[in-house]
Symmetry: C5
Subunit: 265 residues, 5 copies
């Protein structure tokens, strides 16, 4: 389909395409999907096949336009975020975080993506499914802690994102709610000093994959994020963790256009 | 064989093919295979090779017709169900659940499938074999619990399916039957609230693969399914579980025709 | 070499080849290899490469004739059994069980097989080496148990075969012979009810690979085999098992000619 | 692009290229990056794809010039070290150690490298991210030990480099700082005899990948390095180590020019 | 380069090449490398790529001559032994054991090997590095045991070789030298009955890879070797072993010429 178009035209078209704004209605849904409970979050990480870097730039640009098309087609119903993992994670090159009210909508998007020209270069590396839920332990926390947790994080870009899958031990789940709540209070106290510089989001995933939780972090200060994890490793609750990472996915938050720019080169 | 047929004809033929009803006799066997003890259940998950998405649509449609032919040829003797895993599971794209009175009939089907034009694009990802058996602990349960277990699940489609392989610890098997029955009663109590919205089916597989059980779930409410698993993680019996998932296979229940439609695109 | 031969001739030749009887002398050696101690048993499982199903039938038949030739060339010195794993095991498609008085004879056969036209399509999946030995604990068993163990298994085909590798814990080996003998008596009692319908053969493999034992089973009643394994999981000795399966290889016992017929299609 | 250039010219160009000195300003940054806390260290190990050794020498030289170009372009901002792992490690052929003040600068370099002609032959094997920090336990050590730690290592080349990833147990992190400091003092005492012949550098990586630490060693005396590790395995702190190696990366320190010379052959 | 040479000539050249004796000086170094402490031993196992068996015989012979050339070029400085693993180990086809006074010499050989025409068909499977050291516990053994250990092994070929990597537990290393010596005495007593028929060589590898020891065995009686391992599993010291094998490499000792003959077919 691109064969008759001259090289310069292809680049030009790409530029035009990149400049197209997302629809306003999509933006509205996105806020709800990213903040409400009962939303499914899927982390789908892919690596490129060996042919990708061997394709010429024009073919790659054509394929990236297809990526843009598929993502934008689903932006109204789904909240789709992109991350560049290449160079920082050895598991995958590209990560999609997809929020949806039904997991089959997410599946439809990913099946379409993989069936596309761009998708033919992707190899599935990791897929993690989770669910947002109302806070479990927070209602029982002291008022000051609740207030601290509500404080907004520092404004400005948070270019780094990290995904850490977690599985608790059988012993953890056998503890009664009070004991777990007490330990989660200690956990939260240890985390509070990093509340402003490290944004967190929690997904519950027991049964939806081989995990209990997917923890998602955004930050501009990776050193703070590292200190946060170190603090969390020191509290009692950490001893009930059977799997932490494996894989840890680390990368940079990127707009769809940035991803296209980077991969077009 | 398809080379002389024009593109539109191929699509048309596919449409006709898709409309062919399954034979009535097949349907009868199917009910027995899906409800009786002493039936072998095999979960065979495949991923597509790299060439699949690179084939043109017409070739893919020709291949999918072959899939349809092979499945329908065996539908009279076997109960074959299909699931789309792509996008939700990172282990495989397509799952077949096959019920048979003899495992070698299942093997014959899968060998034929893999030898077919369609099968040449499949890579075996996971094969799990199990056996349906009469309920082990239920006879000793209180009458009310037995009645609750007999209650029909809510009518309507259950679009999601999840397969979780389980291996118990050596300690579990060393417990006497009474102790295990007591814990299974607690397990069943924890599961009952989800009885109506989450359908379950159990396969015993000690010796038939590296597992003790294959648990199979169908639901339209994934959040309920998640809550069910969370409840089951909290009962004492869960502490005797050495492997839970690894892999967890999650996908959507699809008719053969739906699979063909989706993969033809 | 097959290029000048017409398709029908190739099929015809294959038919003739398939009808050639094994030599009588080979059969004699086979009985000794399969019953005596001090014989090496190797389980070599292979999967087909992606090109195999893409070859046309005539080429596949030519390759399968080569397989037949290589196997028959070694049948006099080795006892070679074939099993079809495809469809039932996710680790491999084809299993060879080879008995030899010297492991280097087995190696010679497998090196020749892999160097052949047919072998060029095989990828090594699993190789397990073991050794038959005189029964270790049986001499101390009660006379009735010894008699029961000598009872012949039910006549008739046993179409299914299962291979389960086992590694015992360091604790097991540190127990004195009496304690181990006592537990093996309990193990044998649990196994006896299945003696007639499930044939067993034991290979010792400490040092010859990452295992202590290879257990081999043949049966026509997989449900009995499953019950046998379940019974064995319940005895005390099972708690000293560190690895059980991983992989479990399950398939159907096939003559060389059956394998060729199935793979030619 | 290289097609019109004669073979001898290509070699000649390569020689000229190899002789180009690194810029002085780059060298200055390098010292700071390699000595200060708050610097990110990434270990990115790659293996060559199957086509690399099949390329003719001229193509390989052209590709290696691209490698040189990409590395030198980033040398001013990043400190990039190269190691040849091939022949000594089974995980990878080539290792890059990159120091940067921001991990996204490291990502930019590695993305560019992988997008290059040379990079098209690389398969990502392992990526480990860490952070340099001020010494945690040293301030509390006795004065003599502090002095000993400050002693310079023996002058001269240290041709061997070893990278050992470490993960501590949850129990380690749950100990109070005093107990950990005491054990780290014992650890340091055991290490001191090797201080002069084995250079060490520590990276903290909790949260940045599936580790707590990356330990990096340089030596000309591998036997001393082996004795050092053996000494460290004997101290109490080692019992709180859950992962040590897996992978251990071992190779030789190489200048960019040496790597090019070796890989051009 | 071989293209202009007729097939028969190639075979003839191969025959001549095979007949060339190793230089006498090389043999002298070899004795020292194989008997003295402070020597590095590397076990590098490779599998063939899918193209190897698909090459015609003439090409394979040309490639094998290159192998011969590379090995002989390094024989003066290194002691290089070859083993055929194919058919007995599922990890690799060909094993090189290389002894060197400096690990970078070993690296040079393996880099050259992999860069050669022959090497382009090799995929690295396993690399293990170790170091020979003076006996640690023997000096404290009773005189009779020392004498027994000095007894020569039975003359004659030892066609089988087995490599078993070992990692001890942290608890082992935390024991004091006396306790370890006592257990090693028991270990040695258990091993002595097999001293004449099973040759052993020990390499220390803490830090040089993910192991503590590489144990190497040669025997003509695999059954004796199996009994030796079984005896060693029963002594107390074995309970401090965290990894034993994984992989166990088993194969046949082969001269360079034998390897060439076998692989040429």
């Amino acid at each position: 389909m691109m064969k008759a178009i001259a090289y310069s035209t292809a680049l030009c078209m790409a530029a035009v395409w990149l400049a197209m704004p997302a629809t306003a209605s999509g933006a509205a849904d996105r806020d709800k999907l990213l903040s409400e409970p009962g939303v499914y979050g899927t982390f789908a990480a892919f690596s490129f096949d060996e042919d990708w870097t061997k394709e010429d730039q024009r073919t790659r640009i054509a394929h990236l336009m297809v990526l843009k098309g598929v993502v934008e087609q689903y932006q109204e119903k789904l909240a789709i975020d992109l991350y560049l993992l290449r160079g920082l994670s050895d598991h995958a090159d590209l990560l999609f975080r997809i929020h949806a009210t039904e997991l089959r909508d997410t599946q439809k998007f990913l099946v379409d993506l993989q069936a596309s020209l761009f998708g033919s270069h992707l190899k599935t590396a990791v897929i993690l499914n989770g669910l947002t839920k109302k806070a479990n332990y927070v209602p029982g926390f002291p008022e000051q802690m609740k207030a601290d947790l509500k404080a907004a994080s520092e404004p400005g870009d948070k270019p780094y994102a990290i995904v850490i899958p977690i599985r608790k031990s059988a012993e953890w789940w056998s503890l009664d709610q009070d004991k777990r709540a007490e330990m989660m209070k200690e956990h939260t106290e240890a985390a509070l000093p990093y509340h402003k510089t490290v944004k967190r989001k929690l997904y519950h995933s027991s049964g939806l994959d081989d995990l209990d939780f997917i923890t998602y972090f955004e930050t501009s200060k990776l050193e703070d994020f590292h200190s946060l994890i170190l603090s969390l490793e020191k509290v009692k609750e950490f001893q009930y963790t059977r799997r932490f990472g494996h894989p840890t996915l680390i990368g940079t938050v990127r707009s769809l256009d940035e991803v296209i720019e980077i991969l077009a080169q």
